[in-house]
Amino acid sequence: MISLNEVTKLAIKSLLRNKTRSILTMLGIIIGVSAVILLVAIGQGLQNYITTQFESLGSNVIAVLPGKVGGEGGGFSPGSGPNFSGTKLTLKDVADIAKLGGSVESAGAAIQNPTSVSNLGKSKYATIVGADANYLQIRNLTASSGRQVNEGDVRVARNVAVVGSSVAEKLFGTGQVVGKQVAIGGQKFEVIGILSKIGSGGFGIDSSNFVIIPVTSAQKAFGIKGVQSIVANADKKENIPLAISQIKKLLGKRLKEDDFSVLDQASLVDSINQILGVVTLALGGIAAISLVVGGVGIMNIMLVSVTERTREIGLRKAVGAKPQDILIQFLIEAIVLSLGGGMIGVAIGALGAWGVNHFIATSVTFWSVTLAFGVSAAVGVIFGVAPAARASKLNPIEALKYE
């Protein structure tokens, strides 16, 4: 058999003889690989973003969410998330948790509701956070001018609001904000402050788009009886498990096990990452199907090419090519097509990820590139074998007679 180097040169020469067809054949693989790279990059970027957002929350924070949230206790059941609308958590629970003592330092409540905020015809879609003073303190949400919502506001359900910077800009431009009125859910609220840009909204949401109002006012405005989330602070990081079991025990007296979940930051991140991981894999998997389709395309073209090049194969055999020489040449042609398509696909996918990065965080991962590359090489081998074997078995006499 002749050297691999020589066969590769032969293979590349014959692909170059049919440039248009070679490129069109690669197209399937190009699309498949770039789709895998791009979709996985978006999924991965989302995962990274959310993880960093959560990490900025503060490590002693414990969240109590309504319903059964996957990830609690390490188990994972897809499709389970917090049941915000059917919450059975109440302000009384928050007060009870705050009074627990022991490892639990403080507890605060919140209701989150995305809705529009308006002023004199201008409106902005914002995340309304109905909160109490403890919640705001645990979340490190402070006012940069004016004042933050306080206990007194919560007690009497005063209609006051602290608006995030982008909400303020949209509704009032550069003018005076504190003292003005905004409408939320059909009710008028007096703006008492602007939310400091420092501090995190959590859940990957930018706090500049928040409007903070007293949790009691939010209950009235949105017609909600309970609270949607409770955050508590453990006194020390080591005491988080202790605090969690204290809270579980307390809530367990009144509520069923399925009505609430107590999570610390690590398990929250875990459960969200698990869900996003599955989503990423599913996206990658769907894109991978197009890789297989691309492989079938290669096989199809290679089979046609064997028929079309019957005389050439006959000639090569007549002048001394062994069956293996022909087999390897056709196999390498298929592999060059699929790997070439793979390389172009990685480049396009990475470029796409870079473009999308302006809108959604993306992260091109080593494993997705390796996977896409490996799969396209495998596709070349698997779908190249049948045409190559057919070519190598051609009888030179028949092949030379072929018109």
Binding site: E6, K13, E312, G314, L315, A318, V319
Partner: protein, 225 residues
């Protein structure tokens, strides 16, 4: 030039199966010996078995019975890989349809058999140029088949047959696709090559062309007459 036997066929038969029960006996017992330096024309009407005979001489095929020996080796005992090596070393093919690789320069076409005999690329190029010069195409090294006339294409094919310095040049109807003037030029080239010591076997159905050879072998109904 020592006139030793290059290829010999003794009592060679070849039959083909057509369908389930029909067996066609194409060669019915051929005895033929070709010595080095000869210029032999194999001729006969279509269906006479001359193509089958050519395939056996070119060791593209094995006989059903009898012995074909090339360079003292019984080809029936050789594997396909060994036959390929033997063809590469001993036989230079010239076909009626030229069979050049399209969109490929004359040099690269001529280099092809040398690739399969593992000659290094620089030496391949030198030898290909040499072979093209010897057929009068030294000026058209980088032309592709589409840029050459029929006669010139057949010259490239002859250069390709020559480049390995084979024991035998086997030309199957080499003038069949050419006008008479180009045909004559090709025949003259083959005669010149023979004068330089190359052994040539010319397969043709045209008696006029066959007469240009030094020896004529007439095949009829699977037998030499």
């Amino acid at each position: 030039m020592a006139n030793h036997s290059l290829i010999s066929l003794s009592n060679v038969k070849k039959s083909y199966k057509l369908g389930e029960d029909v067996i066609v006996e194409a060669l019915k017992g051929i005895n033929l010996e070709i010595k080095t330096g000869e210029f032999v024309a194999i001729t006969g009407p279509s269906g006479s078995g001359k193509s089958t005979l050519m395939h056996l001489i070119g060791i593209l095929d094995k006989p059903t019975s009898g012995i074909v020996s090339l360079d003292g080796k019984d080809i029936a005992k050789l594997k396909e890989e060994e036959l390929a090596t033997l063809r590469n070393k001993h036989i230079g093919f010239v076909f009626q349809a030229f069979n050049l690789l399209p969109k490929t320069s004359a040099i690269e076409n001529v280099e092809l058999p040398l690739i399969y005999s593992k000659v290094k690329s620089t030496e391949r190029k030198t030898r290909a140029i040499e072979a093209l010069k010897s057929v009068g195409l030294g000026e058209r090294l980088d032309h592709t088949p589409a840029q050459l006339s029929g006669g010139q294409q057949q010259r490239v094919a002859i250069a390709r047959a020559l480049v390995t310095s084979p024991s035998l040049i086997l030309a199957d109807e080499p003038t069949g696709n050419l006008d008479s003037k180009s045909g004559e030029e090709i025949l003259k080239l083959l005669k010149d090559l023979n004068k330089k010591g190359n052994t040539i076997v010319l397969v043709t159905h045209e008696q006029d062309i066959a007469r240009q050879a030094k020896r004529i072998v007439q095949v009829r109904d699977g037998l030499i007459v």
